[in-house]
């Protein structure tokens, strides 16, 4: 009797191990999927905070080099004539020339900011869409003035990711010089002050920033980026004021001579 009870207990017992096996498999697959999701998220962080910078820096370098080549070509016609002119006429002679507005997503200038690093040079592109800011460089708000014009020359750049072109914006000290190179020449701006505002404050882009209706007499450069450094709850704004200009043929301002040389290489 006791022997017969053995086999008779097997049929009710056999589905239980199978259920257990299925459950184990389900839990194991679920666990592996969750671990995979965690690894993918870590990969995403690495991709965004590191790899997008590598890619963007590479592209910016190419765009800067292309610009430097076109500027070189443009100024090559000039030197013979410019050498004949007295040095005094070459730099800061009268109101600066202003180039025509560039077409959408077109590069038109190079920005040099010694405060951001000895080798800081970034392309200036028309437009502030993700296509520009994520891929090409500093974006120029197309509805604002061009460099050197009376009014507000406003640009945007990433604080983090995609080259983090304005990561160091908070380190600017009043009096710091920022240099913009276009086909017309070199413009020197002097950093004046910064401001932290909410993202909807488009009045910082006005010809006289934050003063609607005011008549603009100064040549302002406004840079916008996200704030805090790893967030976008606010915007950090840096205002600079035009100081001087010199034609391309006069050569770069001494402070950025080595960078300009490096840009062409």
């Amino acid at each position: 009797m006791a022997h017969a009870s053995g086999p008779s207990s097997v049929p009710p017992g056999s589905p239980a191990p199978r259920r257990g096996r299925v459950l184990r498999t389900v839990i194991q697959v679920l666990g592996e999927l969750l671990v995979t999701a965690g690894v993918v998220l870590l990969l995403f962080v690495a991709w965004q905070l590191w790899w997008t910078n590598v890619q963007a820096n590479d592209r910016h370098e190419q765009v800067v080099q292309g610009l430097a080549d076109t500027f070189d070509g443009g100024s090559r016609g000039g030197p013979a004539r410019s050498q004949a002119e007295p040095e005094g006429l070459l730099s800061d002679s009268g109101p600066p020339p202003v180039t025509e507005a560039a077409g959408p997503q077109e590069p038109f200038g190079i920005m040099y900011v010694p405060r951001f690093g000895e080798d800081y040079m970034r392309p200036l592109i028309s437009g502030v869409g993700p296509q520009v800011l994520d891929k090409l460089g500093l974006g120029h708000y197309p509805e604002t003035a061009m460099p050197g014009a009376v009014g507000n020359f406003a640009i945007a750049g990433h604080r983090q990711t995609h080259g983090k072109v304005l990561d160091e914006i908070h380190t600017l000290v009043p009096g710091d010089k920022l240099y913009v190179q276009t086909a017309a020449g070199y413009y020197t701006y002097v950093f004046r002050n910064k401001q932290i505002v909410l993202p909807h404050r488009s009045d910082v882009l006005l010809p006289v920033p934050t003063r609607p209706g005011a008549e603009s007499q100064e040549r302002i450069m406004t840079m916008t980026s996200c704030n805090p450094r790893f967030g976008d709850e606010e915007r950090i704004i840096a205002y600079s004021v035009f100081e001087s200009w010199r034609p391309l043929a006069a050569g770069p301002p001494p402070a950025i001579e080595s960078q300009v040389e490096a840009a062409g290489k």
Partner: protein, 56 residues
Amino acid sequence: MYGWMFRHLPGPLWMRIVLSVLLLAAAVVLLAQFVFPWLEQFTPLTDSTIGAAHIP
């Protein structure tokens, strides 16, 4: 799941290891090329413009 996949890869052990590495690399490339750029629009790091030009 991964154990099952590894067991069902063809070839000897070294080939299965090579194939696993290749599959892994392909997954990473797919993620970086297509998935992450799309996913990025939902992260708050990338918005540096202001006002009317606001880009989500």
